[in-house]
Amino acid sequence: MTVKTNLDPCEEERIRRFIDGTISEAETTKLETHLEHCDRCGQLLTERSAEVSFWSITKQILCSSARLSVVDQDTVTAIGFEQAIRDVPLLPTDDPMMLGRFGGYEICCVIGHGGMGVVLKGWDRSLDRFVAVKVLSPTYAHQSAARRRFDREAKAAAAVVHENVVAIHGVDTCNGLPYLVMPYVKGESLQRRIERQAPLTIESMLEISLQIARGLQAAHEQGLVHRDIKPANILLPQSVSRVLITDFGLARAADDANLTASGVIAGTPAYMSPEQARGDNVDSRTDLFSLGSVMYAMACGHPPFRSESSYGVLRRITDERHRPLTQVQPGLPRWFESIVDRLLEKNPTDRFGSAAALASHLENCLAHVRQPQSTSLPKLGRSARAKFQRFLLATAFVVVGTAVAFVYWQSAETVAIHQPAEDLLADEPLLPVEPPATAETPVPAMESEESELEWGRDLERLESMLDKLNKEFEE
């Protein structure tokens, strides 16, 4: 690539290693000292690190860009956010304490910005209360997919009326920007609470999980799957010990032709279910898995599946079993661990049958924790698959049992038929009736020994058959 004929090859070896990246620090210093005076080697180094044409293209392009810093991704995002707030067209207000007005509300501050919009804190004059106004970001308001999703979010959430789900006061559009109005909740998110206090007490974990389960039950009964259950979406109001599920941002009717097909990520990787991670169809049981992850996080401070990259997290969610909670938090009761384990089953059919079933189980657990003397711990029933397995096993036992009985009956009969002939040969013709009787006693004994062996083999075969069936069943 480079002509070096007329170059003094004094430092060629060091330059080669500098380019390869195999040079030591001390050697680099030596090379730099040499370059102090040797322009030829400087030239060689320059030519070897990139082709002349690449140097000149670089110069040409970078020279023409005065506003290089704009490229910075963080800056772009920050600009996007500021712009989003700036672009929400606030009308002037008379109240000096307010930022402006939007959709008839006096806006006092920006609460935050979520996946698709800005959340403003507003004052509802007519009803004399604070509200949270979620405005679809101008960036998305002109995007039909985003707009549709926002509409859907609003309608979906508004349809669920439950004390554990943040209510939707109204949905409207202001200056072309769709927005929805929710009650303003003063308090912290479960995320914050976990960061501050994990591990939570067993009672508050049960209390919080129970309320989430009830909220989910209400949503699921409307045919809605939240799809993004995570600590940040659980609000804990300051005043009451009530838990609110918020941000049905990605909620959609389970039978709705969905938008995720357009390649948009749905859900937060750490709390995603395996079926979500794989991009498969999901139903209400995806929320149960996510709730299991939330319970796990409450108990030990972090979600069950962690990794450096989001790919790593996804891989773990789909392929690996979580580390048992009692290993992470040795003091935790086993029964709590088994609830979480059940929720974190990879196969949706192995989880609780519904949010309602989970809620009633949690309720009983809570009763036990509060009054251990008078209330016993509820039994965690077997999962659907375990029941199926038991059914298979029982069926197999019956089949094998019948087969053995049949074989025994047959052989007994054979003995009964053959015995006289043998007896005849054995020169004892005078006892024609006795032999079957005597024969009968030892034969079952032998038969049972033999059948035990047979049983062992049969069981092995059964086990492998069950394994195969299980695999098929899982698939």
């Binding site: 680099t28 772009v76 002109h142 996804l314």
Partner: protein, 198 residues
């Protein structure tokens, strides 16, 4: 407000870890390049977001058609080609076409762009943005002095001696600094474009 991520199942679909790494590195830069090109061509932020997502989506869909080969560098090279074709095609189409997205875009990936002149210009613009995005990334990666040694001697065309005096370092370190930067720049640029050297 950043554009939503490409869906996680895509990452799971790319089985080879080296390819996955290639995609992750590629995707971050490519996203910025498309967005900047769109803005540079007078699109609104919202439309640019839309376009970015559609182009990324069409490229990610095309990944399913990539057939792994024994040659390791192939995925990167293939991605580079598809990426440039995708953006050129996206930009030569009218907004109405774009709004439909999806299958049309995928077909478009394999069509020859219609207007030769436009294509040429778009490819130059693309290279331009690739360099800028890569440079911005490296500016954050390198020590400010190292970056300045490169910037002043190469881009601003100042003499080695002047820059050495200004930055208070040796001539030798100016040489090594700018060479380190250009080597990395080439690596980064090559992820998305041949950098005019191939």
């Amino acid at each position: 407000m950043s554009v939503p991520d490409t869906r996680p199942s895509l990452l799971l679909r790319i089985r080879d870890s080296a390819d996955r790494e290639a995609w992750e590195e590629f995707e971050g830069m490519y996203r910025q390049v498309i967005h900047r090109m769109a803005i540079a061509r007078g699109m609104q932020v919202a439309d640019a977001d839309d376009l970015t997502q559609q182009v990324l989506w069409s490229v990610s869909q095309a990944i399913d058609r990539f057939e792994p080969d024994d040659t390791r560098a192939k995925f990167r090279t293939w991605l580079r080609t598809i990426a440039r074709r995708a953006i050129v095609n996206a930009m030569t189409r009218s907004p109405q076409d774009l709004a439909e997205g999806g299958t049309d875009m995928m077909i478009a990936l394999h069509e020859q762009p219609a207007r030769e002149l436009d294509t040429k210009q778009l490819e130059l613009d693309y290279r331009h943005e690739v360099f800028l995005v890569a440079a911005a990334k490296l500016q954050r990666e390198f020590h400010p002095t190292t970056w300045q040694a490169f910037w002043e001697t190469v881009v601003l065309d100042k003499s080695i001696d002047d820059v050495a005096t200004k930055l208070g370092c040796s001539r030798g370190s100016i040489y090594t600094s700018r060479c380190r930067v250009i080597q990395r720049l080439k690596q980064e640029v090559l992820k998305l474009d041949d950098g005019g050297v191939a």
